[in-house]
Symmetry: C2
């Protein structure tokens, strides 16, 4: 039996407080570790730091939240570290997602291998355009939005990828939430207001490009 925080050397991390930025870095470490797995079996915080472009101290600080899995004088064991990061991020199991709005971007995403390679499976396609219903894209038939709720419940999908025009994004997102999805990856250029407990990540490519232009404009490093 454990009391509050007595530094017991058990497997689960005692207190898990990860900032958004720190969680993002864990994903980056994971990428490095995967490509490192062939090369060697252990690596130091310094090596890992260099491959993702942060400081060694930052790496050690980030990894400390996972528990004590560094070996002093040696470094970290790559496979074990990768597994621990996956567990912390909640990606030590597959996730199912549906995609709503089958336009050009969606078709590109469906050919993108990165999602399935990292354990994300797209299990349904939905669109409000009647002329698209029934079309097969990436091995899946496009269904009407009216089928969304049932499909989400049957497939047990938890995530939704939202690739509809910005002016209808909020309305469609509401439907996604009503169908039971817990997270939305939003490609529209609007702030989605969703109920408590539903997560959103917005990817706005135009803004990213603006940020690049700004950096060039400044000429900073």
């Amino acid at each position: 039996m454990r009391y509050s925080d007595s530094m017991t050397e058990s497997n689960p991390p005692s207190e898990l407080r990860l900032s958004r930025a720190a969680a993002q870095r864990l994903s980056l470490y994971l990428r490095s570790l995967d490509s490192f797995a062939r090369t060697g079996t252990t690596l130091s915080s310094e090596v890992l730091a260099k491959t993702v472009g942060v400081s060694a101290a930052q790496v050690r600080r980030d990894l400390a939240v996972l528990g004590h899995l560094g070996l002093r004088g040696i470094g970290y064991e790559a496979a074990g570290l990768a597994a621990a990061i996956r567990k912390t991020l909640g990606i030590d199991r597959p996730w199912k997602a549906v995609l709503v709005g089958v336009g050009n971007l969606a078709r590109a995403l469906l050919r993108y291998r990165g999602f399935s390679e990292h354990g994300f499976e797209i299990v349904g396609l939905f669109d409000s355009d009647a002329t698209k219903i029934g079309q097969i894209v990436g091995g899946l038939a496009i269904e009407p939005l009216s089928r969304l709720k049932l499909a989400v419940q049957e497939s047990r999908a938890e995530l939704g990828i939202l690739t509809v025009p910005s002016d209808v994004a909020q309305a469609v997102a509401n439907q996604m939430v009503a169908s039971g999805l817990r997270g939305v990856m939003n490609f529209a250029s609007v702030l989605l207001v969703l109920p408590h407990g539903v997560q959103v990540v917005t990817v706005d490519l135009a803004i990213q490009l603006e940020q690049l232009a700004f950096a060039v404009h400044l000429g900073e490093d």
Copy 2:
């Protein structure tokens, strides 16, 4: 961002120190302002804050770096504010970009209207696959990489969009830099190491989806 801070304190924004995050928020404010331009002519920090999901104090702090363009008792004049943000971000003029690696993602990006709507023009397509050379995509003919340097110089493009597989991304990025590009928008899942003065923004969709899964996993807000 180093020494040589011998900036003159003239009328315009005397000291311009914008964090990456703050610059990103300026882009967000800009989106709101554009859609607000029809509605009204002025708006308060509180209103603007609500549309992008930050605090009013944050908005005022961010806008203060642009100079004194708020009207006490009134708020900010939408059009003037938008113009000031554009100027600060360096997007008060068009930017030209080339795209390297014409796969599915690239084809989707070429149909995405967001870039041109925000002043970014794609002026050339390049690929190393000989079978693609000459194909017309989005009104542009795909050219071989050997033409990149000349094309960049002729078109005066400054930015490059990199949509090649991760294993060749660094090599291709090196060619982009050698051709004179000053900024790279990288869609590959690797850390690009580029010389001083060349800017990079990486967009890794799998990592974004992992972050969403993590947020759902935690059930945080």
